[in-house]
């Protein structure tokens, strides 16, 4: 009884807080001091990002040009997480492709694939691939970008996992490709931005953004695929 009353009070307080927060005005953007001058950083970025970076999406301009360090360390973070997952589930990995829990499913009797699901997923495949690449390659103009597009492509592999649960993904090969892509992600901005090519060749700005988005997209797709398949086929390994 006391417990339920406590829960009701808690819920009421939370709801009240939410309503109160949603009705308060946010603070106005405070100017940031840089040296002696006072510079309004968000205003500066919003005013100049189109001519300085060649992007039409301010978010892409920030994470691929102004604050490219963030992107580099984010990519490193994902890479380290995947290294951890691969080594965490290292025990008992089988090399040959194998259907998941074969004996149990034949015993249960429900082995046949659903016709509707395989057909609809086959129909969705090209649509999702096309859309994923659209989100990646158009990330500097519309919302989206490398991470989102890569995650969309990775959901494709989940669909494949539902329809046909066979573990034929070569995780170590994918991981090697991912590491090579990480080196590229590290090299391209260092060469392009830190040697100030972007100021000398303004025409290269937009290709640089597209290249970075494509690299990040493929890297994220490979990484998330490794994670999903590792978790999905963890059960038979243990």
């Amino acid at each position: 009884m006391i417990r339920s009353i406590a829960v009701v009070i808690f819920v009421a307080l939370l709801c009240g807080t939410v309503l109160w927060l949603s009705n308060t005005e946010g603070d106005p953007v405070t100017p940031v001091a840089a040296g002696d001058d006072i510079i309004d950083v968000p205003g500066y970025v919003l005013q100049n990002f189109e001519e300085q970076t060649g992007a039409r999406n301010a978010v892409a301009a920030i994470y691929l040009n102004y604050r490219v360090y963030d992107t580099l360390f984010e990519a490193l973070l994902l890479l380290i997480a995947i290294v951890g997952i691969i080594h965490f589930f290292r025990i008992g990995i089988r090399s040959e492709p194998r259907t998941i829990t074969h004996q149990r499913r034949t015993q249960a009797g429900a082995t046949e694939q659903s016709d509707i699901i395989s057909r609809i997923t086959g129909f969705l495949y090209p649509v999702v691939i096309l859309f994923g690449f659209y989100v990646i390659a158009n990330g500097h103009n519309t919302p989206g970008g490398g991470f989102q597009g890569g995650a969309i492509l990775a959901t494709l592999f989940i669909g494949r996992f539902i329809v046909n649960p066979i573990n034929d993904v070569n995780a170590s090969l994918l991981h090697d490709v991912e590491q090579a892509l990480f080196v590229l992600i590290l090299l391209v901005p260092v060469v392009f931005l830190f040697y100030e090519f972007s100021g000398q060749f303004p025409a290269l700005n937009e290709p640089f953004l597209i290249l970075m988005n494509v690299l990040i997209g493929i890297k994220v797709c490979l990484g998330l695929t490794i994670v999903v398949f590792r978790f999905g086929f963890d059960e038979e390994n243990v």
Binding site: V7, V11, L14, V18, L19, T155
Partner: protein, 188 residues
């Protein structure tokens, strides 16, 4: 704010409600579904507040990838399938199930359910028109419940240690209906 009273307040209240229910549900699959809806509404709110990039990332991660990871984790959480054999019904309709759940025999069934939850098993109740022998032959059960006019027969597996405890519990609880336990031998 687009609508007069603010669409965001309604959606924020919904997220709070869903989050609390997700924490308080006993059945983990329901919690996973609730979390999927939570991230869906959350990403719509990001969109509403003018952050479409974050909204896309939240939708893709929250309702696609994370859900698979949670569901694979739940695989370790065992389900306990209870099959209710209602032979004498001509057709299986929602009304008959509700009628059964409301009767005194349904009380026993909910007692079994509570027992499963206390043992960290997820009860899964299936109503079937097959006869008990056929279900037993099929082999996909942990417990078969066969309610009749004045008797309540429970068929359990011989090798399942939970059946003994369940028998004690049900005999204590059933005063007006006969409860009988039958053990089915472990099949090959």
């Amino acid at each position: 704010m687009i609508g007069g009273i603010g669409l965001d307040s309604i959606l924020l209240l919904m997220t709070v409600l869903i989050a609390i229910v997700a924490v308080w549900t006993k059945i983990l699959r329901h919690a996973v579904i609730l979390l999927g809806i939570f991230s869906f509404i959350c990403s719509f709110l990001y969109l509403y507040y003018g952050a479409p990039d974050v909204a896309i990332a939240e939708a893709v991660i929250g309702s696609g990838l994370v859900m698979l990871l949670y569901l694979t984790a739940i695989k370790r959480y065992r389900t306990y399938s209870i099959i209710v054999s209602v032979e004498n019904e001509d057709r299986l309709e929602d009304a008959t199930m509700q009628e059964f759940a409301g009767s005194s025999q349904g009380q026993l069934l909910s007692e079994i359910e509570r027992f499963c939850l206390s043992r960290e098993l997820e009860p899964e109740i299936v109503y079937s028109r097959e006869s008990v022998a056929k279900i037993a032959e099929d082999g996909r059960f942990d417990l078969i419940v066969h309610p009749e006019e004045s008797r309540f027969t429970v068929y359990g597996r011989e090798d399942n240690y939970l059946v003994d405890e369940l028998e004690m519990l049900l005999i204590l609880h059933s005063t007006d209906t006969d409860t009988e336990f039958v053990r089915i031998g472990a099949e090959s």
